[in-house]
């Protein structure tokens, strides 16, 4: 059984299509990163997965149950981090631990207090008076203490400075791998994802552009920097390229083709070039290369 299985998911906001026939699965024990530009449908997917939005059609199954009608037993298996690390901020750090400990049977307060010991907060400090970074640790600590099988983290990096982001990621990855947890995560800071995720799911408006292990994606997806002989030449579109970006004589050519295949294409098409070289990419470069800058 998959931890998450979305079948033919289609959603419209009024007459505006968000996506049609979206299909993806997340295996148990994997950390999957959902990447996409603003408005690509990340939040829509998270909301459907958590039962806060009825899809126009299709279904999303969490451990085999329709996400719109999750049983309490299945909800207990899911740790949910809401975008912006939203929590009951009218409580203090002690009260919130006391509250959640009464809700979950597998509650283990150790990781919560362990994470909080790294912060300079007192047990009576109200969450509303904490910094964004501190609140992120409270929210993460609560999820870890819940000991869920599946962690759904919506834009966990929002509002965090680099130190807290690193702390969050390192702690999370170590925890997930040591305990065979499944993690479904979105973030608008893609450089964070590279350290964290096993698999990547890249969404663009209305469709999925890539879903595969992040190492496989990084090996197969390439960027070639080409310097043209004729700066006035408009580089032609080709099926070989997923995306082409040109500034005068400099062309960035993104796709799954090898260097030899691209060279072959250039000579067959009679495109003169001064140089061509494969550019090393980070996940962020690859994401922008795949989805385009705009």
């Amino acid at each position: 059984m998959y931890a998450i299985e979305c079948n033919n998911l289609t959603h419209y906001y009024g007459s505006k299509l968000v996506y049609e026939d979206l299909n993806f699965k997340v295996e148990e024990g994997k950390i999957l990163g959902l990447l996409g530009k603003n408005g690509a449908g990340k939040s829509t997917t998270i909301n459907i997965m958590n039962g806060f939005l009825h899809p126009t059609s299709g279904e999303c199954l969490i451990y085999g149950e329709d996400s719109q009608h999750l049983t309490p037993a299945t909800k207990e298996k899911i740790g949910f981090l809401i975008e912006g690390h939203i929590q009951y901020s009218f409580m203090n750090v002690h009260q919130i631990e006391k509250f959640y400990s009464g809700c979950y049977r597998r509650w283990d307060s150790k990781p919560y207090w362990e994470l909080l010991s790294k912060l300079k907060v007192t047990p009576t400090q109200k969450i509303s008076r904490m910094s964004c970074g501190q609140r992120s640790q409270v929210a993460l600590g609560l999820i870890l203490a819940q000991d869920p099988q599946l962690l759904v983290l919506d834009d966990f990096s929002m509002g965090l400075d680099p130190g807290y982001r690193r702390l969050f990621i390192d702690y999370l990855r170590e925890y997930a791998k040591a305990n065979n947890k499944t993690v479904f995560v979105t973030s608008h800071i893609i450089q964070d994802m590279e350290r964290l995720i096993d698999d990547v799911l890249i969404m663009d408006y209305n469709r999925i552009l890539a879903q595969q292990p992040v190492s496989e994606f990084m090996n197969k997806f390439r960027q070639f920097d080409i310097v043209l002989e004729n700066p006035d030449l408009e580089f032609p579109q080709t099926d070989m390229a997923v995306n082409i970006e040109q500034i005068l004589d400099k062309v960035s050519f993104y796709g799954y083709a090898t260097l030899e295949e691209v060279k072959g294409y250039l000579s067959r098409s009679g495109i003169g070039y001064k140089s061509i070289r494969e550019q090393e990419m980070s996940l962020e470069d690859a994401f922008i290369g795949l989805t385009g800058k705009y």
Binding site: N47, A73, F90, F99, Y100
Partner: protein, 225 residues
């Protein structure tokens, strides 16, 4: 689980409960100071005549206090849930979504009834010092609709606050205003005594309407606005 939810709700409304108990106490003490003043320092006979024959209501200043308590407790309980859509956290708890709303609503209702019960107890105790049982009974039938109106206001506040779309909130507010104001129309003593059970029934029905807003939230209505 129930205990944990009660704890969360108590953290939200405890200040409001304390504040309203204090407010009620001040208003009631003030009412009986006025009664004492009327009986002892004005013409006692005339005062009795106004109460018994003319049907004057010595508890008139209490009229909108139960309404204020209902509204206040509703806001104290549901406002923290709608800030940043924290109700998502509540719906994500390992308990059926309608059940968690009913537990919250039930707890709020118990606190509200407790505050009301204390008001009424103090009112009866204070009244029994000055008036015979028949007068107190008449006064109780006069003030009960105010409490039932406060109860309805509490429940409808939950409906309005949890509603995901502003346009619906405005619509519900207008309807709720029209509905709740029915409890406060007549100033004549015992005006509602024959239909008191109808008002009580209506107030009880409003307790579950919050489920409708909860359903609309989970359906994702706010995303369609």
């Amino acid at each position: 689980m129930h205990k944990a939810i009660f704890y969360k709700e108590w953290l939200k409304i405890r200040w409001a409960v304390g504040l309203f108990l204090l407010l009620g106490l001040i208003v009631l003490v003030n009412i009986f100071l006025n009664v004492r003043y009327g009986v002892r320092f004005m013409d006692a006979h005339d005062y009795w005549y106004r109460i018994i024959i003319q049907g004057a209501n010595y508890a008139a200043s209490l009229k909108y206090i139960p309404l204020l308590v209902g509204l206040g407790l509703g806001v104290a309980q549901y406002f923290p849930e709608i800030v940043n859509q924290r109700i998502k956290l509540t719906f994500h708890l390992p308990i059926q979504e309608n059940k968690v709303l009913l537990i919250q609503q039930g707890f709020g209702l118990c606190c509200l009834l407790l505050v009301y019960a204390l008001y009424i107890l103090i009112f009866v105790m204070g009244s029994s010092y000055f008036f015979p049982a028949e007068v107190i009974q008449m006064q109780l039938q006069t003030i009960l609709p105010w409490f039932l109106g406060g109860l309805a206001a509490y429940s409808l506040t939950g409906l309005i606050m949890l509603e995901p779309l502003w346009i619906y909130r405005v619509l519900y507010t207008i309807i709720a205003y029209g509905f709740v104001s029915q409890y406060f129309l007549q100033a004549v003593p015992m005006a509602y005594s024959r239909v008191l059970w109808v008002f009580a029934l209506l107030s009880l029905v409003t307790v579950i309407v919050v489920l409708f807003s909860g359903y609309r939230f989970r359906k994702g209505e706010m995303h369609h606005g």
